[in-house]
């Protein structure tokens, strides 16, 4: 898989127009009527529509900079960054990914350049590493459900409630529970991996998923849409920021009361990237009060305003620290995916 992705990355260089397989979207954002000197290439896993207001505010404030926004899948972006680090493909000016463990790995492989400013040093220790990687956002991993189809008494407030739901002998939720496919999504893998470290409920969850023929699928938007449509009733470990930025009337959001994982998307300035200065300016902008306010407005920075308060002890931020390297370990990943597959394979055999 790695080779094929490397090949894809090579194609980006060689056959640019046809090589957009791993790169989902690309758009150049400039301030209207501005004189552009610098083009900042930002490779991100975030949907452009979510980040667009922030980028637009940034180019308005910095009219000399144009941002070329490339949207990537997290695994593809990781492979691309590795190749760029090795000098095989052109490097981005900045990489902004939700696959935090992959970003840690990149920094650990000396692929990033260091930067210090008032804003970066003000970050808490859990949101920066070596002054080369910074956590910009704070997004919860939530459960969502279809408010039309799931009875109020069934709504799982915690993982234990979800387990109980899945253990019912005859369940209307069979085949109606969805979660990320951890092999396809770096973020899904990270959430699942953190779950496995966090509590013993993970084994039971896997067992429950297997029992109810849960669906492992791809991509936040797809999951949310299909929950809204009623294809799935409940989805587990969905990025809360995506749900809220969509306008779905019939979707309920649960911050699990036992513990809720919080993700900080990581921002990195590659060591060989062009326009590092501009990349640093974008970083400072996103960490500035204005940038953070914009992020909050787009639900990328969790704030306890919506009544459903979470006990302090239930907040589990995914710290940006080298322990996340464990998630990227070859053996560990293989064992983890084997475990995952064995849970989801039962259903395939049954069919």
């Amino acid at each position: 898989m790695r080779n094929s992705l490397l090949w894809a990355a090579l194609q980006v260089v060689l056959l640019l127009p046809t090589a957009l397989a791993s790169q989902e979207e690309i758009e150049r954002i400039t301030a209207p009527g501005s004189q552009v000197d610098i083009t900042l290439v930002l490779r991100s896993t975030t949907d452009l529509d979510v980040l667009r207001p922030i980028i637009e505010a940034f180019v308005l404030q910095n009219p000399d900079i144009a941002v070329t926004y490339e949207q990537w899948g997290s695994n593809a972006l990781f492979e691309n960054s590795l190749a760029a680090c090795a000098g095989k493909v052109p490097s981005a000016s900045a990489v902004f990914s939700s696959g935090v463990h992959q970003m840690i790995d990149l920094v650990n492989r000396a692929c990033a350049s260091a930067y210090r400013s008032e804003q970066t040093t003000a970050l808490p220790a859990a949101r920066r590493w070596r002054d080369e990687l910074w956590g910009i956002t704070k997004e919860p991993a939530v459960m969502i459900y279809n408010t039309d189809l799931v009875p109020a008494k069934d709504v799982p407030k915690s993982r234990f409630a979800l387990l109980d739901l899945m253990r019912r002998p005859t369940s209307m939720y069979r085949g109606k529970i969805a979660t990320y496919n951890i092999e396809a999504s770096g973020l899904g893998y990270l959430f699942a991996f953190m779950d496995s470290l966090e509590a013993s409920t993970f084994g039971a969850l896997l067992e429950g998923f297997a029992r109810t023929d849960a669906v492992a699928t791809c991509c936040s938007w797809e999951i949310i849409n299909r929950v809204s449509r009623g294809d799935y009733l409940i989805a587990y470990n969905v990025l809360g920021s995506y749900v809220d930025s969509a306008t779905f009337d019939n979707i309920g959001v649960i911050h699990p009361q036992d513990y809720t994982l919080f993700l900080s998307r990581a921002y990195m300035i590659p060591k060989d990237g062009p326009e590092k200065q501009a990349a640093a300016r974008l970083l400072d902008f996103m960490l500035s009060t204005r940038g953070q306010n914009l992020l909050k407005a787009r639900n990328l920075f969790y704030a306890e305003t919506d009544g459903a308060t979470l006990p302090e002890s239930a907040e589990r931020g995914i710290s940006i620290e080298p322990t996340l390297l464990v998630a990227g370990d070859k053996h560990r990943r293989k064992q983890f995916i084997d475990l995952w597959r064995s849970a989801f394979a039962k259903r395939d055999k049954a069919r």
Binding site: N108, W129, T323, H331, R332, Q335
Partner: protein, 466 residues
């Protein structure tokens, strides 16, 4: 010594205080440098040890979590190992699990392989162009389906170690710095109080009139009193020399004027008188006067010399018998009074004193000359050792001078003698000076039916022989 009369200006020099303070400062600085080096070495050592333990702990943790599954080692990488490594907050981590043949099982292929073999190896290597420290732990597996050694290498860059070393050094240096400042302050006060007697002495000296050769009061610590005592001694000597010179000059002025006037008068008489017989008589008187002036000059110069020698020649052990023998053997008396009998009274035991041989000879010569001139033959020159006292004496058979003269004898000069153109008083004053110069004394008086002049010294034989 040149006495310019004006006070000598003191050229500006760095004070003793500032010198000593500079010395202390230099000492402290040198000590500080040494302590800094030692602290840095210690800090590095401490940081290295503690972080090395971390590395080994992490490697062992990983080794423990490795199992053989289906004939192959499978690493269930423990988060705890990486939590350990994360204690080095900002350091890059590298790890690799390799089989004996070097096949990478999991981890980074950039992690180096230890050059040494062993169950637990610590080594330095580079990690992505940064210096790094690695630990390799070996674990042997002997399972049914897998047998062999698996090597677990863990490493990290040196940021945390260096930070810890610097922190430890900084703490140590801060302590040393505070101690140094306290020491400086203490040293300042101690030195200042030590220097006070010296300053006192210096100001005393500066205040002093350059002609004032009186001794200074001896007070203050031993080192200062030694200096003052030495200075006093020097001033005393200077005073004596100046006095001797003054005496010589005034003696010369006083004593020479009369005989020289007499000689001139005689010479004029001889020149004026045409008669041969009168001329002959005048010439004889002139000769007598000249001879007398010569001996007077001899005496004065010898006295000046004796005083000069006693101040400038260190005393040596001298046998008084040698002195007596030498003086008698010179046979000066054959010239002065050919009919006088001079006997030498010495025996076989040596009589040692601490003195200057030449001064003693001069003194005894004077004693003998006096006896020949004023005494009655036979004259005896003798030496007596009496326990702690050693004596050298000259005796004659006469009654000695009158009591009034006796009272005046021994003074520096005597008008009566001088007016006569002789020098008896001067001779005895030399004797007295020599005796005093070597801690002795002069005695004059009747002895065994005659007149005797004695110089008595503390004997050195009895005590030093032991």
């Amino acid at each position: 010594m040149t006495e310019s009369g004006a006070r000598v200006a003191v050229p500006f020099r760095t004070s003793l205080m500032s010198r000593v303070m500079l010395g202390v400062l230099a000492l402290l600085a040198a000590g500080g440098v040494i302590v800094a080096i030692a602290a840095l070495a210690y800090g590095k050592q401490a940081a290295r040890q503690s972080y090395d333990r971390l590395l080994v702990g992490a490697a062992q943790d990983i080794a423990e979590s490795t199992k053989i599954v289906n004939g192959a080692p499978v690493v269930d990488l423990p988060v705890s190992a990486f939590s350990l490594l994360s204690l080095a907050l900002d350091d890059r981590i590298s790890y690799a699990v390799r089989e004996a043949d070097g096949t990478l099982l999991t981890g980074y292929d950039t992690a180096p392989i230890a050059s040494k073999s062993g169950d637990q190896v610590l080594f330095d290597a580079m990690l992505h162009s940064d210096a790094a420290r690695f630990a390799t732990v070996a674990r042997r597996f002997a399972e049914r389906d897998y047998s062999g050694t698996v090597y677990f290498t863990v490493g990290h860059t040196l940021r945390a170690r260096n930070a810890m070393a610097i922190e430890l050094t900084r703490t140590a240096l801060m302590g040393v710095g505070i101690a140094g400042v306290i020491l400086m302050i203490c040293a300042f006060f101690v030195i200042r109080s030590t220097m006070r007697p010296l300053e006192h002495m210096a100001s005393e000296l500066l205040k002093r009139d350059p002609y004032d050769l009186t001794p200074m009061p001896i007070k203050g610590p031993a080192e200062v009193t030694v200096a003052i005592a030495a200075m006093n001694q020097f001033m005393r000597r200077l005073d004596r020399q100046v006095g001797a010179m003054r005496n010589l000059i005034s003696d010369a002025a006083h004593q020479l004027r009369t005989p020289v006037a007499a000689i001139r008068a005689h010479a004029e008489l001889v020149a004026d008188h045409g008669a041969l017989a009168e001329q002959q008589q005048g010439l004889e008187r002139l000769l007598k006067r000249t001879r007398s002036l010569g001996s007077l000059l001899d005496q004065m110069l010898s006295r000046a010399m004796v005083i000069h020698r006693t101040d400038n020649s260190p005393p040596e052990p001298v046998d008084l018998r040698d002195i007596a023998l030498h003086v008698v053997e010179l046979e000066d008396h054959m010239v002065l009074s050919p009919h006088a009998i001079v006997e030498l009274c010495i025996d076989g035991d040596e009589v040692m004193v601490f003195a200057d041989e030449i001064s003693l000879r001069e003194a005894v010569k004077n004693m003998l000359t006096n006896a020949l001139k004023h005494g009655t033959s036979p004259i005896r020159v003798g030496v007596t050792g009496k326990g702690k006292t050693a004596e050298i004496w000259v005796a004659d058979a006469g009654p000695g001078p009158s009591p009034e003269m006796l009272a005046q004898i021994g003074a520096r000069f005597e008008r009566f003698a001088a007016s006569k153109g002789t020098s008896a008083g001067l001779g005895l004053s030399i004797v007295s000076s020599v005796a005093e110069a070597f801690h002795g004394s002069m005695h004059i008086g009747q002895h065994e039916g005659g007149f005797r002049v004695t110089m008595a010294f503390p004997a050195m034989g009895g005590k030093d022989a032991q």
